[in-house]
Amino acid sequence: MKLAWAFFCRDAAIAFSYRAAFFAQFLGNLLLLAILYYVGKTVGPQNLPALARYGGSFLAFLLIGVALTDCVSISLVSFAAQVREAQTTGTLEATLMSPVRLSSILIYSSLWNYFLSAVRFVLYLVPGALLYGISLRQANLLSAVVIFFLTLFCFMGIGILWAGIVLLIKRGEAIIGAMGVCVLLLGGVLFPPSLLPAWVQTLARLVPLTPALEGMRFALLRGYGLHELSGILVTLSVFSAVLLTAGIAGFNFAVHLGRKTGSLAQY
């Protein structure tokens, strides 16, 4: 825990040292909220049949989709960004010289980003609920928290695996960008996956974000408890176990290759 706290403090201190950028990100959040509000207003207050199983409100559907996707994108890019930054700033070798496991270094390095992501998640939902009249009265917070963490674990695995690839190929922003768009399309962030063609829906089931968003919407908008979400929870748990194991194994393999080729600190 002490080590995790040291990483958290380091990243918090660096983030606060760029004050304008730090506060600007929250301003961006608020502006996005405004955009979502007007998109929701365009669609209107009527209950849409495609959204009936989520309570019917498009704005609520959209808000939860965007908020959870923000956390997912942190998982996808944060680890690779940490590796890349450590390579370019020259701190990677100094960190790797410490008697701490690489996977721990990687996870601790992303704690601050996860904290910010959780703050932004709340910043999306609370003003949404207060200003836009989205009802979270039924929300089952325990289910939402469990889904939130299982989603993070799933995408953490992919993010760690991706960090290993970045360790070797150095620049991969375009690839991860394309992957992000795929997740956006298939996961049901902006529209329900049921609107997709049948064969694409099959594909969408392979994306962990699809059950995660479904579960989060059920938990927050319909108040589903853990028992009612058990199917989704099992799916997310399996995704988490497989992806985290694959991610850590892949990252360790990449480090092994990097040590062999002497390219760890190269950028």
Binding site: R10, T89, E93, V100, I169, R259
Partner: protein, 358 residues
Amino acid sequence: MTTETSARPAGLGAAPASRSPVAVDLENVSKVYTRRRLLGLRPGSGAARHALRNVSFKVLQGEMVGLLGPNGAGKTTLMKSVATLLKTSSGRITVYGKNVDSDPLGARRLMGLVTCDERSFYWRLTGRQNLNFFAALYGVPEKIARDRIDLLFDKLGLTSSADVPYQNYSTGMRQKMAIARGLLGDPRLVLYDEPTRSLDPLSAQTIRDWIVDNRIASPATTHLIATNQLGEAEQLCDRVLILNHGAVIADGSIGQIRDRFASRGTLVHRITCTGFSPRDIEPYPEIGLFEVRLDFTGTGATLMRVTTSETGEGLTFVLSEILGRGGSVSRCETEQMSFDEVFCSLVTGDASASGSRK
């Protein structure tokens, strides 16, 4: 390779006894870089570069050993291999008995690395914040870390800048920070990778003095220092290893290496004469005259540098040439080769030897 200990530079206290435990042990270590292909994921069979070739040596506890060699000789590869940052192609490296490949975490607990890369800190954080973070990373308990950081800042003269962002530090201060970080975990082995590179002479001397002082204070700590500064090696090291093309071509104290080179039978003479130009004499290896070089000329006197064999007639030949052509000799002295000259001669000799072997 040798495990001998050697004469220590004055002022460093007693040399490590030959019964001292082995701190670093390298056995037939080789490193071959192969060309990568397919997104860097698979080593190819393309051009291979041998960075280390069957390197074997031992460093005893308490020794300070210098790694010398021209650029590209393999010093950094060797340091990174010991530091667990690089995987060797073959051979075995142990640090106080811990194998760096099979137990890298165990080995890292015993080591501290002092790099010359001033980028290796967080520039937006203060010096103290940086060291606090690395202390946590090296597992130093909070209270001990606080005291140790204060002590290091004090000893390195950084106390007044401890809470200033690292980005405002001068190059010399950044190098001191690198030393502080290397020593934070109270390591039993300190690896220095060119600790005074890019420093002005005064700052470099300050760092060297500090290394000497620290060594006196912690005589059981072992030091391995890669440097291109031969004077630095002379001042700091008990023993040096000269690397060239990835292989160790000399191992011993600086005095031993110099003597060994002299015993190859080469002498350097400085001759001051008038009425003669060294351009009039060509090298004549058959009689042991290897080189005749003009060092200085002015107001009628000429200073020349003549390299001859110890046993041949080279010097006699040069002197008789000067006198025979109407010149006169006012001074002739045989000098001891400087370590710089020995080093250059060893490296170029090794290069030509490996060239002729090819």
